[in-house]
Symmetry: C2
Subunit: 282 residues, 2 copies
């Protein structure tokens, strides 16, 4: 696996591959690589001829109170894990390359960016879309691989890619979980032992909601109430939101009719965790 910080080198390598008619897929990350990221790279490898991964802890997507400075960074281990998963090229751009002095362009996806995570973290998705747009401009991949764990992020980026006519397909890969159900996340590293035990509340609550949906429950209010009921057993888990939303528009639904996302966000100690599942047919 080749590693470079240089935009020009990425463009050159991609141009060579493109001329050789290679299919090139792309997995952007913020580092702190775990098995979830690796599954994205492996899926990309299975479909593409060449896979580019990037590591960039994007300051634009962190708010003033967020964890930008203490976000886990493990460059040596990351390189090893991405190489082992099969990435051909790792791009680690500098902040000053993607956000030089005087940078002033923002990509905004209206509405989809403003609810749920966007409501809890104002400006977060503008930071995501602006940087992802830049990464896509440089890599110009055939497909962009994103984890379903960040379901709203996937939806926002899908909309951006469609609206801006980017010549890239957006692919989703399922959430990878630990044995007890906790969704893998770089932020799990913030959890102390008791917090780690209680963090299972997120997936546990979702499992109950899914079971209720299977049994015919269609009331969002009752699904949300059930999740909150589960969470009562986990005092370290502080709800940020619990919602049943349309999988496409992300608008809250009262009754489950079309495809929905059941989404949760909570603080557990210093960590802010999210989880979700999709349910129903499009």
């Amino acid at each position: 696996m080749r590693v470079t910080r240089s935009i020009a080198e990425v463009r050159d390598e991609v141009r060579r591959w493109r001329r050789a008619r290679k299919r090139i897929d792309f997995v952007p990350t913020m580092g702190a690589i775990h098995a979830g990221h690796q599954s994205l790279v492996r899926r990309a490898c299975a479909e593409a001829d060449r896979v580019v991964a990037s590591i960039f802890v994007n300051p634009l997507q962190f708010g003033p109170g967020d964890d930008y400075r203490r976000y886990p960074r493990s460059p040596a281990a990351d390189r090893e894990l991405l190489a082992r998963a099969g990435a051909d090229l790792l791009w680690t751009p500098d902040v000053g390359h993607l956000l030089p002095e005087g940078h002033r362009t923002r990509v905004h996806v209206a509405e989809l960016s403003e609810m749920l995570e966007g409501d809890s973290r104002p400006g977060h998705f503008d930071g995501v879309t602006t940087i992802v747009m830049q990464l896509l401009s440089v890599v110009q991949p055939d497909a962009l691989w994103l984890g379903q764990k960040d379901a709203q992020q996937v939806r926002v980026i899908e909309q951006m890619v469609a609206d801006l006519k980017l010549p890239t397909k957006v692919r989703r890969a399922p959430i990878v979980r630990q044995r007890d159900g906790l969704a893998l996340s770089s932020r799990n590293a913030y959890l102390g032992p008791e917090e780690r035990r209680q963090a299972v509340a997120l997936s546990r609550g979702l499992a109950v909601a899914r079971m209720m949906l299977r049994q015919g429950e269609r009331s969002s209010a009752r699904l949300v109430a059930a999740i909150r009921w589960v969470w009562r057993e986990f005092p370290l888990v502080q709800e940020d939101y619990v919602a049943v939303v349309d999988a496409r528009t992300l608008a809250k639904v009262g009754v489950v009719r079309r495809r929905v996302l059941v989404v949760v966000a909570a603080r557990v100690g210093r960590a802010r965790l999210i989880d979700n599942f999709e349910w129903g047919t499009p």
Copy 2:
């Protein structure tokens, strides 16, 4: 010259050219083609192997009180004029293709978009940058050709292209003028005979300012006052703005030290006209 409305056909043709290692340049227009547009196409032809032109009257860049509906449209003549200038492919996308139901992404270039034209026409440049971003995604040109007549538009798009790392060079071509100095513009078609005579005020005022700069004048206030003095002879010309701005930041300057733009905008009858010149070294 091939003509198509289809995004897929443009992508296919460009892909074929790209594989044959052709340099592809792009001239976006809103139609109502005049010699200014033709000069852009000719300059592109001189540098590139293939030239794509587009015609799209972009509803996003018109405000509620603007002239979207009555903007001059002359598709048959446009095709003829673009073909004669040397374009290889003319793309005429439908509004519904670039702005389908549910489209919600905007590209915003902060500050540069908000002054001068942006101040007179709120949201105008977000409409421009959003659509130009889409056009660039489809055509993926080596160079994008823009007319210096819309100096602020050039600056905003340059900034977008740099910030979003688009693999395209922005090229400017000088203003093409009628014999009496009036800058060519599709909106000149709105002018009645007496308005047409008085529209020369814009270039006449700028010529006086340029002469003063050559003679050593460095006070923006005196340059602006001189232009206004010239305009007093043209009662049909109603000032929107007259300003001396930094060529890069577009911020107003009090004293001319670095490269500046002298920019004017005025209503002449139903037409809103703009003109400018650049002065000084970068």
